[in-house]
Symmetry: C2
Subunit: 298 residues, 2 copies
């Protein structure tokens, strides 16, 4: 069986507060990144290793290949689309840390110019700004407060706030030190409250305008950082304080983020670091694709 | 403070049965790989991510810089030395999967030639052979059987065999399915039996000449594979069967290895895969080294 010719072999690895990504530039949308290849790339022992893959495709090319219907039909569609894949290869709409790293890398490669750039994502257009201090900010869109919710975490019932930041969250404000909680197994959620599951944040206010967070991501376990989780956590802190707007410094296990709430949207600001750039070994890629083709033939 | 100029930025990533490594070629031994930089490279979220670093240095150069005293004084010293670092940056003598990946990469780069090559390591010279089927074999040296030992694993006392494969092991032959054991926390060892701790192997004979293993590595937790652990596991199986020599197929979580026992040595055979090759981002490397210099100044 003939394995499809590889269209990309160049990759980069980057991270935002420890949320890490493999980045691929596939300008004409012809690379054919399968779920299995994305998962092989993200495998931390036999691949490059990452929380997800960020594939950059020109929006017009994506429209031509029909991969994301309707993507280029809007006037002023952004030049680049961020095709995000989870570590298991599944598709996700958006990733707040991912898009900041994505923007940094495209700028680094000279593929985008200017300080404020819009990108297409499956959750709609998202605008990213480069700060003078090296931080990158993304407009995360509106946060919806959905009422009280609860979860059993490490055998104890916790009450929190249900929120949507495009994806579902339960943010629980806690008084205890965050390292006293057990997040080795998934928090138990009420399916009536969360029919699709949710990311669960443990949030502790540490001072005026500052808080700390740990997060359990649906399907991934505890992670170093989660962009939508950071926004949900700060929105819960603001709600508790009776505030609708403001800026909070949020410490996550992988570093520090700033979340700024405005009436109609929320901004996520933080570091976006490129670690390395290189080429996938042809034999490795061929084996990953052969495994793929054989799985497809089954 | 002036940060030392970087002497290497090129890296590769490879693995042997899921035991993965960052590989650096530092021909003249001038790179100055600190423990902190090795740990930063191995960080799976903010670095490249690996179980360890394999630094290739020409033996003569290493002798010149005095890093490994006496290394080049032996007649017929190998051309290349493998400087192995654990994921936390600490030095280790040898790594059975690492040296197989190391040999593969040096051959791939054209830095070694031939089918059988000796390398210097802190545990002495080690000879590696390339198989026709793509597998790589390393002569692991002698295995010492040290008598009975025991460990509490997941609340249950297990009896096994103490062995040395350069480093200390407790190999426990078990009847139950390997996935029924809890290796999330370290097996409790008797300090009188293991003053320096040990790697612990759970080994199940699965047929004539075949066995399966899970391993808890001292200081690392459960891993996909461990070269010395594979040799220890097979030596324990052979001892139980009253055999001193022979060849066993051993399935580890990261794939399949073959261990061949001879009267005076043991051979470890298995895949050695290069995943990718690339360049560390200068800004990332500078930040890692600045953190280093600042820690050194403290």
């Amino acid at each position: 069986m003939v394995v499809a010719t590889l269209r990309f072999m160049r990759f980069a690895k980057g991270h935002g507060t420890g949320n890490d990504f493999v980045i691929l530039v596939d300008e004409d949308g012809s690379a054919g990144l399968s779920a299995d290849l994305a998962a092989a790339l993200c495998n931390r022992h036999t691949g490059i290793g990452a929380d997800g893959v960020l594939r950059a495709v020109r929006t017009q090319a994506l429209a031509r290949v029909g991969e994301v219907p309707g993507i280029a039909e809007t006037a002023h569609a952004p030049e680049w689309f961020m095709d995000y894949r989870n570590a298991d290869g599944s598709i996700a709409e958006m990733c707040g840390n991912g898009i900041r790293v994505f923007a940094r890398y495209l700028a680094r490669r000279g593929l985008v110019r200017g300080n404020e750039i819009a990108f297409g994502t499956r959750a709609g257009f998202r605008t990213v700004k480069f700060g003078a201090d090296g931080d990158v900010t993304v407009d995360m869109g509106a946060v919806s407060l959905l009422g009280p919710g609860r979860a059993v975490i490490g055998g104890t019932l916790h009450h929190g706030l249900r929120l949507s930041v495009g994806n579902p969250h339960l943010a629980c404000l806690v008084q205890d030190r965050l390292d006293s909680f057990d997040l080795t197994s998934p928090p138990a959620l009420d399916p009536a409250e969360f029919p699709d599951g949710a990311n669960v944040e443990l949030v502790r206010v540490t001072g005026p305008g500052s808080a700390s967070m740990r997060v359990y991501e649906r399907g991934s376990g505890e992670t170093c950082s989660c962009g939508t989780g950071a926004v949900a956590a700060v929105a819960a802190v603001a709600h508790e304080a009776g505030l609708a707007e403001g800026s909070w410094r949020l410490t996550v296990p992988g570093g520090d983020l700033t979340v700024t709430l405005r009436a109609t949207t929320a901004y996520l600001t933080g570091p976006a670091v490129i670690v390395a750039e290189g080429d996938l070994e042809p034999a490795w890629l061929q084996a990953a694709q052969a495994a793929d083709a054989s799985a497809a033939a089954d």
